[in-house]
Homo-oligomer: 328 residues x 2
C-alpha cells in the first residue's frame, strides 16, 4: 500500500532518548498510520535504526542539546536537526514537525524560522493535563512569560479550535487561570483578559482556580506563560512527591509490601495518567505550520502518539480556522 | 497553676467549623500551653462551649463570612470578631491573633487596622508545604498579586527570620520560585529580585522550579502572590486528584480493596502531610503584631496547633529582628 500523501518531519536527535527511541517510534507510526516520515539528524546514527521504507533520512550535522541556551543555539547551529526540520516545514517539504528537543530552542526557532500565523500575536506552548473527565489543555505553558490580555485571549481562541478539531470535542469550554472565581479577581491583565475572552466567541466559563480544573470544568485553561509554567511544574512535582510517599508507605513493612503488589496494576494506570510522556505531545499554536512538542523524556510510544497527533493536526485544518477566526 | 503572661486573641467566629471547633481547640491550647486566651465573637454562642477558665470571652456582634468581599466587609463590620480582635492586638490587649476566617479580609484588616512593621513594604501571607525533608514556607501565597522586586526580597528576609526563630532552623535557605534554574530566567521583576536576594543577607540558593522544591532544597520559597497562589492551589488540587485516583484504583476489585485496607494507615499519614489543616496555621508577616492565619476548614486540632505557633511567634521576637534587619 502506498503511503498517504502526508509527510511528518521528525527531529530524530531531540530528547533524552534520541535517536534510538525517536526512530523506533517514527518507524512504527509510519507503518501504522501509513504516512511518510522524514527523519532529520545524523544520518550515520539514524540509518541503521530505520525499519520502515516509509521513513527517509535527511542528514543534519548538528544537535541542539537540552543544556544549550535557546536563542544562541538556534542561531549558531543552522545545520541542527531542529532548525533544518523547521525550515523544511516552512518550505512545504512536510505537513507537520515533531520534536522532543530543547523546549526553549523549539519555541524560538519556530517563531524565527517558520513565523507566526496571520493575526497571531504570540506563539503559545500547550501542555496536556489529566482531569477526572479526561484531559485539559493548558496554554501558555511557558513560551511567553509576560502577556498582554489580547495574547491570553488568543490562546483561548487557538486552544478551543485545536481541541474541537484534533480532540473532537464539540463545544470546548475555555477557562482563565486565576486566584479566585469572581471576574474582579487577579491582576489588571487578568481582569482585561476576562472581559476579552467573554467577547471572543469561545465558550468562556470564567475564572478557574488551580485546584478546581481537575473536575474537568474546562477543556482549555489559559494563562500567561509564567503562571502556566508554575502550575504545570507544581503538578508534576506533586505527582512525583506523592508517588515517592506512596512507595515509602508501601515499603514500611512486609504486610504493606504484599498489599502494594496487589495494587501495582491500578497504580501504574494512575502514574501513567499523571505522566506527561504518555500523552505523546502538545501543539505549539500560532506557528504558520503544524508543530508538536513531545516530552523531553519521550520513549518510542510517546513519539508514536506525538506523530499520530501531528497527523491529525495537519489534516484537520486547525491553522486555517485560527486565521479565519482572528480575521473576524 | 497561674497562666503564663501570654494572651492569644482568637477569632472564635472565623472558619468553616466556627465557633465549636475553634473554641474546643482554644480551650485545649489554653490548658496545654498554660496561656490566657481571649475568644472574640458572639458571646451567647461561645460561652456555653468554653471548658477552660483560662479562656475569657469578648463579645463581637458581627461575623465576616467567607463569601464577603474582603475590603467592603472589614469597613462595614467594625464589630466583627476579626476586626475587633485585630484592634485588640494593636492596642496591646494580647500577644498574638489567630483566625481561620476569610483570608482576603484578614490580609486587608491586618494591614488597615494593625499597620505594617517599620521598613516593611508589603504584608505577606505564608503557606506551609510538605517536602521530603519536612516542610517549606511559601511566601507570598496570595496577599500581593503584583510585586516589585524589593517586596519579594523582603518576603525572603521575613520568612528566613521566622523560620529560624519559630521552626528552630539554624541557617534557613531561601529560594526564588521561577521557571528555570539560571539567574537569567523569568521576568524583569524576577531577575531583579534574584539580584537583590543575593545581596539581602539571607542564605539565598537561587531560582527554584515548582517541581524541584519537594526535595527540601530550601526552607523558604518566595514569589509574587499571583504565582505563589497558583502554585499552592495546584499542589492542593493535585493531591486531591491523586487521592481520588487512588481511591478509585482501590475500589476496582475485591482484591485491591483488601490490599487497600492494609495500606490505609500509611496512606492516612501521607494525606495528613499533604493536608494544610494539619499544619495548624501560617503567619502573616510584616504586620506590626503577631498574626497567624489558620486554614478555613480547621478543626480543633488545627486551631490547637495554630495557637501553639502563635505563642512561639509571640515569644520569639521575630518582628523585632525583622525591623532591625530592614533598618540596616
Amino acid at each position: 500500500m502506498e503511503a498517504r500523501r502526508i509527510n511528518i518531519i521528525v527531529d530524530a536527535m531531540g530528547g533524552d532518548n534520541a535517536p534510538d527511541m525517536i526512530v523506533a517510534g517514527a518507524c512504527a507510526a509510519a507503518e501504522k498510520f501509513n504516512v511518510e516520515i522524514t527523519l532529520v539528524g545524523k544520518a550515520d546514527m539514524i540509518e541503521p535504526l530505520v525499519t520502515s521504507d516509509k521513513c527517509k533520512v535527511v542528514h543534519a550535522s548538528e544537535v541542539i542539546e537540552n543544556s544549550d541556551v535557546a536563542i544562541d543555539s538556534i542561531k549558531a547551529k543552522r545545520d541542527s536537526s531542529m532548525v533544518k526540520g523547521l525550515i523544511m516545514l516552512r518550505e512545504g517539504e512536510g505537513n507537520a514537525f515533531v520534536s522532543a528537543g530543547n523546549t526553549g530552542a523549539l519555541i524560538s526557532a519556530a517563531t524565527l524560522f517558520v513565523h507566526r500565523l496571520k493575526g497571531v500575536k504570540r506563539v503559545a506552548l500547550a501542555a496536556l493535563i489529566p482531569t477526572q473527565k479526561g484531559k485539559m489543555m493548558l496554554m501558555d505553558a511557558g513560551a511567553n512569560l509576560v502577556c498582554k490580555p489580547e495574547y491570553i485571549t488568543q490562546f483561548g481562541v487557538m486552544g478551543a479550535i485545536y481541541i474541537k478539531k484534533v480532540f473532537d470535542v464539540e463545544n470546548p469550554k475555555v477557562g482563565l487561570l486565576n486566584v479566585g472565581a469572581e471576574a474582579s479577581k487577579g491582576t489588571d491583565t487578568y481582569r482585561q483578559a476576562h472581559e476579552m475572552l467573554a467577547e471572543s466567541g469561545v465558550d468562556f466559563i470564567g475564572n478557574v482556580e488551580a485546584r478546581e480544573f481537575y473536575s474537568g470544568v474546562c477543556d482549555c485553561l489559559v494563562a500567561d506563560g509564567f503562571a502556566g509554567n508554575i502550575m504545570l511544574k507544581s503538578i508534576e512535582g506533586t505527582a512525583q512527591f506523592m508517588n515517592w510517599h506512596l512507595k515509602r508507605a508501601m515499603l514500611k513493612n512486609a504486610f504493606a509490601k504484599l498489599m502494594a503488589m496487589g495494587l501495582k496494576g491500578s497504580l501504574k494506570g494512575m502514574k501513567k495518567q499523571m505522566d506527561y510522556k504518555s500523552h505523546g505531545g502538545a501543539p505549539m499554536l500560532g506557528v504558520a505550520g503544524n508543530v508538536i512538542k513531545a516530552h523531553g523524556s519521550s520513549d518510542s510510544v510517546a513519539i508514536f502518539n506525538a506523530i499520530g497527533e501531528a497527523i491529525k493536526f495537519a489534516e484537520s485544518g486547525v491553522n486555517d480556522e485560527i486565521v479565519s477566526h482572528l480575521a473576524k
